[in-house]
Symmetry: C2
Subunit: 368 residues, 2 copies
């Protein structure tokens, strides 16, 4: 192999990973210390503390799962579900479908509430389904990365009533658009590092409400996954659980990166960051509309950080290759139903700027 490794410089405007701030890349290369070193425990505590601020929660059980966003999804589901438990899942894209798949593998009885791709799942329908099925858990996707739709998660608790656990995938939402874990009555929320946090992929921030943590503690069956078993993970991650008990070796360097990424979020201010995403996304969506692209997501529910557009008849999907190879810009193709017909353009985290939107629009103009 030819050394050194020399990945090209890309402007990452796809559905993730997003551009990584230089100080986060620096943090990844800091000296590795032991996973039980008192200094690392301090970094873990600070990471959890910052995650609580970004999730807007006071949940003690808040930490990064040692895997990517999909590991966060699986951790959320397999810990609160036991075989035979009923879960109602809103499905309006790939990631709702993925939750249904993972929940079924955990032995749950799954009811899906489907919506057309590009539309939202109606909270009232979710509520009706939850009542009809006497659901233990209701789950939905806050920011559907496959379609660019923002779900009105703030209305879901009211629609489902106080009893079901509310489980939310905010892989693409966290730190990009408003998310209020405590304020919206969310019990379990998971995310990924490589979207609006602007940290490389590899960790899945997750938070459990005391009620959800209690459901895990009172399980009758073992969690099917040893690796993702929160009853053991909490002994390592949660403050006040006594001596930190070894479970698995935490991904030290990735935790460094997340620590620094979260610090940047706090330094900017969460609300300022949300506003920056909204501004950049609005700017891009106006410009794309002018170029003849049609928004894929329903009006009023478009994510600013992930813009999904239908291709005009004269724009081939292969243009993405030209963008990558001629301009060094990555954007994403459609997933599932949208393959070949849809583009997904991310303005996430460090990359959520009008300047980046302009670079993309200018490059597109040059190619069209």
């Amino acid at each position: 192999m030819t050394s050194p490794l020399a990945p090209p410089d890309r402007l990452l405007l796809g559905p993730g990973p997003s551009p990584v701030a230089p100080s986060v890349l620096d943090a990844l290369g800091k000296p590795v210390i032991g996973h039980l070193d008192p200094e690392f425990i301090r970094i873990m505590d600070e990471t959890s503390e910052q995650l609580r601020a970004v999730f807007r929660t006071s949940n003690p059980l808040t930490f990064p799962v040692s895997g990517t966003g999909s590991a966060g999804m699986e951790t959320a589901l397999v810990n609160v579900l036991e075989p035979g438990d009923v879960i109602v899942i809103g499905v309006n894209g790939v990631f709702g479908g993925r939750m249904a798949d993972a929940a079924a593998r955990a032995g749950a009885v799954v009811t899906t509430v489907e919506a057309r791709w590009g539309d939202i799942v109606d909270p009232v329908q979710l509520g009706n389904a939850a009542t009809a099925a006497n659901a233990k858990v209701v789950a939905l996707v806050h920011a559907e990365t496959s379609t660019g739709v923002r779900s009105p998660v703030d209305q879901v608790r009211n629609a489902i009533g106080p009893d079901p656990l509310l489980l939310v995938d905010s892989v693409t939402g966290l730190a990009g658009i408003p998310l209020e874990v405590d304020g919206w009555g969310i019990d379990v929320c998971f995310s990924g590092t490589q979207k609006c946090l602007s940290v490389p992929p590899g960790l899945a921030p997750i938070t459990f409400s005391p009620r959800a943590a209690n459901v895990v503690a009172e399980r009758k069956t073992s969690v099917q996954s040893w690796y993702l078993d929160v009853s053991m993970l909490r002994k390592y991650w949660e403050e006040g659980q006594g001596a930190r008990a070894y479970h698995h070796t935490a991904p030290i360097s990735m935790v460094y990166g997340l620590w620094e990424g979260l610090r940047l979020v706090m330094e900017e201010g969460l609300e300022t960051r949300w506003a920056r995403h909204q501004d950049a996304g609005d700017f891009l969506q106006d410009a794309l509309t002018e170029l003849g692209f049609q928004m894929f997501a329903r009006k009023g529910y478009q994510l600013p950080q992930l813009t999904s557009v239908r291709l005009p008849a004269d724009v081939p999907d292969s243009l993405r290759g030209n963008l990558l190879h001629e301009f060094g810009i990555e954007i994403g193709g459609g997933l599932g139903e949208g393959a070949g017909k849809v583009w997904r353009i991310g303005l996430m985290g460090h990359g959520a700027t009008r300047h980046n939107a302009e670079r993309l629009i200018e490059s597109l103009r040059a190619l069209l």
Copy 2:
């Protein structure tokens, strides 16, 4: 939080993570590119190619799982086991016991063949148990990180006959001591990056023989884990599987680090590296014996890369804290039965040198 993140400089002589080479830390900080970028696919292919060389296998299905070594363990088990399948597991320390736990969670019928901690599991006993139980899978730990024991894995295939799948945990073995996946008839072997590969924790190299891959392909039930389902992961990682299908977003930066760590192994030469570990380990074990420490592992089966010693009566376990805080040297305490009574000292990967052994011995002399 105070920026920049400033973890202290430690000499990592515990059971992992091991010292990371500067060029690996550099690789972690390289620009992030997309997980479907053609350049990243090339880096993935080269990573798999180098992993095959280090595992000594020609298995096409060889890749890093997006989690730590324990995720590799779970991937190995949950993919080849279906509910009701019989597995025989050798247990002579924490990590054999962990496999038994994870296999039971996958619904397998588990028989353990136990040995005293510090001893090996007798291959003949494993074979007898496998025959008696008509086992589908036989599993054992190549290098028991909790006790410092090296298992005679080379003798196991002969003892169990041709039928059972042979599954080996070589988290601490790979790239430190001889391991011949093809030569020893191993069907599934997993490892971790933070031991003798000297890459930070976060990925779990794994390899499946064509026979094991076929067992996965012909399953009657879904793999219980969505995240670790090899039937989907192979569409992303395995060459010749057509267009690389998105499953989850790979931990890009960690793959960079692994690529570079593997390159360093190949540059040194695998056999030279094994010899370096043996030399450093022998040197340390002689010096510790002189100091009054007793080897925990049975004579003739001591791992050179992980030395487990019983503390003399006049050496308190708390001395580890002095080593860390006064000399910046991390060593590990005992796990399970060995807690408080045993130390575990790693000379792994980049850290496997006589010089490091001397630094430890001198510091110990100063403290004693």
